[in-house]
Symmetry: C2
DNA sequence: GGTTTATGTCAACAAGGCTGACATAAATTT
DNA sequence: AAATTTATGTCAGCCTTGTTGACATAAACC
């Protein structure tokens, strides 16, 4: 180091002046933080009034996206423990937002589905997020949507790319294995 | 109402088949979730080994970006309560990552600075995130960076745009009146 | 029939949010 | 000068949502 030597105002310790980093993309790091924070804020407020949290939202979202997925599959997507899931899932079932159906092939499995009520809530929660995205894309050229999509997809760990693609369920999108 | 029998095995209820939504951008909603999850995963793992959490990361990040910001300003950016901040901030001070300097104008204020040690950690945490962003932009045209930046910036609530711009430190002013 | 698998559940714990109450020193107002 | 407000710190307790470990049950598999 030894560079801020010239006019040091504070004599005590060295307070590490500016963010003169090697090659860190501070701007996008920070922007991503703010963007996600606000992205989740609308549904968070709605959930609050129902006594639910962000965890409930995630559960409903993925059940809505993959109707009939099993508990194990959901755990896989959410990457949480079954005990964590159990708590919120139980609440969602008790409040009539989610229903379980015994697996047809394997009767140990529980296929998860949203009820009409749950579906309505999932939609209501997604609506402001979708609107926000729409507004964020509005000033851009139509082709830029795929740029954003590509960027976000590449931000995901390779091990989970497939999950992402599967969930999309309509990605003709060529470039997938290019490493 | 009338659907007290939540867990039923026969589909006499409607399990709400497909995500046939009005105009919901499910793909980007979900992609954003996965992207942010993985974006935070690298620093999370590092922090774990130090006995720190994501909260400590955020605090160090913003102190690094705005050396000398006060406690009140930090609370404003993070949007948490001072009691929440106090816990992590105390730990960061005790471990020698953050130091406080009495405000020059107002001696009640505490200007926050990273120490050399804290700065090193902030950099180490940001590095994998920056690399991830770099990789995600690598396949795109150079101009597309500003597309992504624009998208993320628009995702932020209007009330906080200024915060974002200030932190970036290179956004003079823009059309804020539009709603 | 024995083992593995899918799920559920109990109990305890941790991180990191929250609110409310109160303390202190410095700045500001009256 | 005294009273009030402001910036910060701290104590105590609560909530949500993660965690681990242990154990139970039914169904599938071998």
């Amino acid at each position: 180091m030894a560079d801020t030597s010239a006019r040091r105002i504070n004599p005590d310790e060295e307070p590490a002046r500016a963010p003169e980093a090697p090659e860190i993309d501070w701007d996008l790091i920070e922007l991503f933080f703010f963007a996600y924070r606000d992205f989740t804020s609308d549904p968070d407020h709605m959930l609050d009034e129902l006594g639910f949290g962000r965890a409930h939202h995630r559960v409903m979202h993925f059940i809505n996206r993959r109707p009939g997925l099993t508990v194990a599959e959901l755990l896989d997507v959410l990457q949480i423990t079954k005990q964590s899931l159990a708590r919120v899932l139980k609440q969602l079932i008790d409040t009539g937002h989610v229903m379980q159906v015994q697996g047809p092939r394997d009767r140990r499995q529980r296929e998860l589905h949203l009820t009409t009520k749950g579906r309505a809530l999932a939609l209501a929660l997604a609506a402001p997020q979708s609107r926000r995205i729409g507004r964020a894309l509005a000033d851009l050229k139509p082709e830029d949507r795929s740029t954003v999509e590509h960027f976000l997809k590449e931000m995901v760990n390779r091990e989970f790319r497939q999950q992402v693609d599967n969930l999309g369920q309509h990605e003709p999108e060529s470039a997938e294995e290019k490493r």
